[in-house]
């Protein structure tokens, strides 16, 4: 029942919010609903709820043998935890943002949460596709309705891009369906006997969808524009959670199902990932807009996860798993800071800001910790994840180029330090100017949200074991299917 409730809570509340007229009420209801899903998720993970309740399996479409099959294994728990944790933070940290028709805004936000949770829990391919698209539709409306100046062109590009990917995925899933003798069940997909040609075809169909969603270079061109033009709360959803849909897709629906094609094509994708990391890092260094900077840095970070998956080893896969969570909360922290700055000064241009540290010391301290996590300093959570991934890529038996990949990826870590620290220096230190001289420190809601994230960063950085043991089984299983232990 837990999976169904996790989806129904945001779904029903989200739909109901369209009928609520008072803005303040709508916001509070949305926050409450997201907290409720978080509580349910935590209760489910802590073992208060019977383990049998963590799956749900009912017939759906008899004729084509598709089922309402949800389950919460380790990887699903990790990502559902990230989702349910992020939404209250997103809603609370942007509490003071003003939106027209805010009831609809929060309604759509909750609907997207329902879609995302469904993606992470579905064990039926058709159901997975259903939620994959469902997560997209509310986000399209959110970006197009409440976004920046160029929102309409940018979001239609985003939508068509991801829609093409989704349709390719649909074809891939249909091909798997017929291969599996008319079943959409994930477990039936696992042990299919296919020729290498068939496997490659299916691999490419699925990989395109995930590559666009993550995004992987050269399919990334929608991403910076969309992140920039969306309202920041929506950018948070896009980068903290939706980008993980692609990585999750690789780990659940690609690598275990078409392992030999993943192995054969691993080097190609790993190379693209490395190119993308370098490319995004260099561009991030030249950005003057805070949102675009974080957007490009996100491409680089996701690139490392893709690299670790396509040059696999146990340590690398585990690193990618935990880094999905880490990157989610870290980037949430970055966006919260960007949102504060944008709301306060009405600009995101780095060149127009300066000296904020004198006026907003608390914000600065919290941001610096988040930023250090962004560049994977030891003691922060990202260090654990990225170290494991480097370790994994270097030691991977699946690729001959482990060393080259590792060196190239390490360069991007240095570059990320360059652009992140330079951003902090130019925005928070130095002289104040006309715009920033009247600045005040952050309000309580931002302080609390950032504090939660910072606590998470340090906690996981020091004691990552619970998260790692959560996914160890899934990681070992994926590697076993690729014959790489």
């Amino acid at each position: 029942m837990v999976p169904v409730l996790l989806i129904l809570i945001p779904l029903i509340t989200g739909a109901a919010l369209f009928a609520v007229k008072q803005e303040a009420t709508a916001k509070s209801i949305a926050l409450l609903a997201s907290l409720l899903s978080l509580a349910l998720m935590l209760a489910g993970m802590s073992g208060y709820i019977d383990a049998a309740q963590m799956t749900y399996d009912q017939p759906w479409l008899g004729g084509i043998n598709s089922r309402f099959h949800f389950a919460l294994d380790g990887m699903s728990q990790l990502l559902c935890l990230l989702t349910t944790l992020s939404f209250p933070i997103i809603i609370y940290s942007t509490w003071n943002n003003r939106y027209d028709d805010s009831n609809r805004f929060f309604g759509l936000v909750l609907l997207s949460q329902a879609g995302l949770l469904g993606v992470f829990m579905a064990l039926d391919a058709l159901l997975f596709y259903f939620f994959w698209e469902l997560a997209l539709i509310p986000l399209y409306f959110l970006c197009s309705r409440w976004g920046g100046e160029r929102r309409i062109q940018v979001t239609i590009k985003f939508f068509i891009y991801t829609f093409i990917g989704s349709l390719f995925m649909l074809i891939g899933l249909i091909m798997l369906y017929f291969k599996a003798g008319g079943s959409f069940a994930w477990s039936d997909f696992l042990n299919l006997k296919m020729t290498s040609g068939q496997e490659l075809g299916i691999f490419l169909m699925l990989a395109i969808a995930f590559a666009i969603k993550m995004p992987l270079f050269p399919f990334h061109t929608w991403q910076p524009d969309t992140y920039e033009q969306s309202p920041t709360a929506v950018t948070m959803i896009l980068s903290a959670i939706m980008a993980k849909m692609g990585v999750f897709g690789l780990l659940r629906w690609l690598a275990p199902i078409v392992p030999s094609a993943t192995f054969l094509w691993g080097d190609n994708f790993a190379t693209l990932a490395v190119i993308g990391m370098l490319y995004a890092s260099f561009i991030a260094m030249r950005q003057d807009d805070l949102k675009r900077l974080v957007a490009y840095s996100s491409i680089a970070h996701i690139g490392l996860m893709i690299l670790a998956i396509f040059a696999p080893s146990y340590s690398g896969i585990q690193g990618a798993m935990i880094q999905m969570f880490n990157h989610g909360i870290n980037i949430l922290g970055m966006w919260i800071v960007v949102n504060v700055i944008e709301q306060k000064f009405g600009t995101r241009k780095i060149s127009e800001l300066g000296g904020l540290a004198q006026k907003a010391p608390v914000l600065t301290i919290l941001l610096v910790i988040v930023a250090l996590a962004n560049i994977a300093m030891p003691l922060t959570n990202a260090f654990i994840g990225e170290f494991m991934m480097f370790n994994g890529v270097l030691g991977s038996t699946a690729t001959k180029f482990g060393l080259a990949y590792t060196i190239a990826a390490l360069v991007t870590i240095i570059l990320s330090a360059v652009y992140t620290l330079r951003m902090i220096q130019r925005v928070f230190y130095g002289e104040t100017n006309e715009l920033t001289s009247k600045a005040t420190d952050i309000s309580f809601n931002v302080k609390l949200s950032l504090a939660i994230i910072v606590v998470g960063i340090i906690l996981i950085g020091v004691f990552p074991k619970p998260l790692l043991s959560l996914t160890s089984e899934v990681s070992a299983d994926i590697l076993g299917r690729m014959n790489l232990k």
Partner: protein
């Protein structure tokens, strides 16, 4: 049989009611009640209850598939009457005749969904076509309507001629009009004349469903005809001809060992390409919908292309989903004062219900999950994947589906994200509720398509 006879009788009744009944409201009510009755007797026949026992000498065969299709077509027509009956009576002074013609078309649809002889196919197609020529030109004082009607009539007559020639050739080769003769495994008489004849019949049918390269009449006719009738033509009538096409293929080409799939694949690709690419450049929503109907016909052609259980389920769902969505959009379009995309600017502010329901219909046409349009496209694509050959067509189709998002979403962008004051004719609350009900049906069937499909098997 129930539906064929009753629809003809109802058509005649409505023609006479034009003389005796002067109130337009009364005519509307008679027509709506008549359509409801027609639907009921057809459902009764699905349950094995026959009103008339006519020996058709095996010229008509009533299969589950055909009867289910009738039910769907009649339900769609009933919905069409409910949301647009007022607009039908507003087209001109002869309100009752328009309804009568629509009943005759329903009769034609019931014939082509169960024909078992080429003669009856021809009869059914003509019974559908001739009333359509009249409906297209029913706005007598409108030059565009006249032009459209004449164009449609001339082109349609040519295609009818081609069909007759084809049937004659087939008869020459097989010495029979019966479909079973054609289907018989004995290849006797399957010679060049036979295939040439079938090809001519195919061309004529492709013309009727506006498949490329026989689509040139469509935009002008759909644009010129009164908008209510465009809605009817683009949905129910087109689906009816599709059923005829599917049945014709099922019983003639299939198993002939002849690579007919390639012909259909090329036609499908061309239809998808032309419909989608041209729709992008339209400025008027009505014309955009005309091209979109060509594009959707491309997807329906998959039902002809693959000929398996998936394609049969698919064409049923496609008919239903496409009709629901298109009738809904046209019902809203009729109420708009300005048919261009700009005319929709800001509709979400002035008429939120109309905008929200139109959005759902458009999402369904684009094939987004949670709407019936998704399952319609899903079954079509799955049928093509299952048939195993011509995978390039599937990939081409999904690229075209992605293109279609662009022009469908342009309407959504206008309604929701652009500022403006869209002007509409006054709208009644009943109309809003009906639209909301149709939108709810689109979503419910989008989650549980089995609600319809189960009737194919039980």
């Amino acid at each position: 049989m129930n539906a064929i006879i009753l629809s003809a009788i109802l058509g005649v009744i409505l023609m006479f009611s034009g003389i005796f009944v002067t109130s337009k409201t009364a005519i509307r009510n008679i027509a709506t009640a008549g359509m409801a009755l027609l639907l009921l007797v057809n459902i009764a026949e699905q349950g094995g209850f026959h009103l008339f026992n006519v020996n058709t000498h095996n010229m008509l065969v009533f299969s589950k598939f055909g009867l289910l299709f009738n039910s769907i077509a009649f339900s769609a027509t009933l919905l069409f009457f409910l949301v647009s009956a007022k607009d039908i009576t507003n087209v001109g002074i002869n309100a009752a005749e328009y309804f009568a013609l629509i009943f005759f078309i329903s009769c034609g649809i019931a014939i082509v969904s169960s024909f078992n002889s080429l003669l009856l196919l021809f009869l059914g197609i003509e019974i559908i076509s001739i009333p359509l020529y009249i409906l297209t030109g029913s706005d007598k004082r409108n030059l565009k309507s006249n032009e459209a009607s004449l164009k449609y009539f001339l082109m349609g007559s040519f295609s009818t001629g081609i069909m007759l020639l084809g049937i004659a050739l087939v008869y020459g080769a097989k010495a029979s009009f019966s479909m079973e003769q054609m289907h018989s495994s004995i290849n006797a008489g399957r010679n060049a004349w036979f295939y040439a004849g079938l090809l001519l019949v195919l061309i004529s049918m492709l013309f009727k469903v506006s498949a490329a390269p026989f689509h040139f009449w469509t935009p002008d006719v759909y644009d010129g005809a009164p908008t209510v009738f465009t809605s009817f033509m683009a949905t129910i009538v087109k689906a009816g001809v599709f059923i005829a096409l599917v049945r014709l293929f099922d019983m003639s080409f299939v198993g002939s060992g002849y690579d007919w799939q390639l012909i259909i694949a090329i036609v499908t690709a061309a239809t998808l390409f032309i419909g989608n690419i041209t729709a992008i450049f339209q400025q008027s929503v009505k014309r955009m919908l005309a091209y979109s109907s060509i594009a959707q016909a491309g997807f329906m052609l998959f039902g002809v292309f693959s000929q398996n259980d998936f394609s049969r389920e698919g064409i049923i769902l496609y008919t239903l989903g496409y009709s629901l969505a298109t009738i809904g959009i046209f019902a809203v379009l009729i109420k708009m004062k300005d048919y261009t995309f700009e005319g929709f600017n800001g509709l979400a502010r002035t008429e939120p219900v109309l905008a929200a329901t139109t959005t759902i219909f458009l999402l369904s046409l684009a094939g987004i999950p949670l709407t019936i349009g998704f399952f319609a496209k899903y079954f079509m694509l799955a049928s093509a994947v299952k048939s195993g050959s011509h995978l390039w067509l599937v990939i081409f189709a999904i690229l075209c589906a992605a293109i279609s998002v662009y022009y469908y979403f342009r309407v959504i962008q206008s309604m929701y994200f652009k500022t403006g004051l869209a002007e509409t004719e006054p709208v009644t609350p009943v109309f809003r509720w009906l639209l909301a009900g149709m939108a709810a049906a689109v979503i419910i069937l989008g989650i549980f398509p089995n609600l319809v499909l189960q009737y194919l098997y039980f």
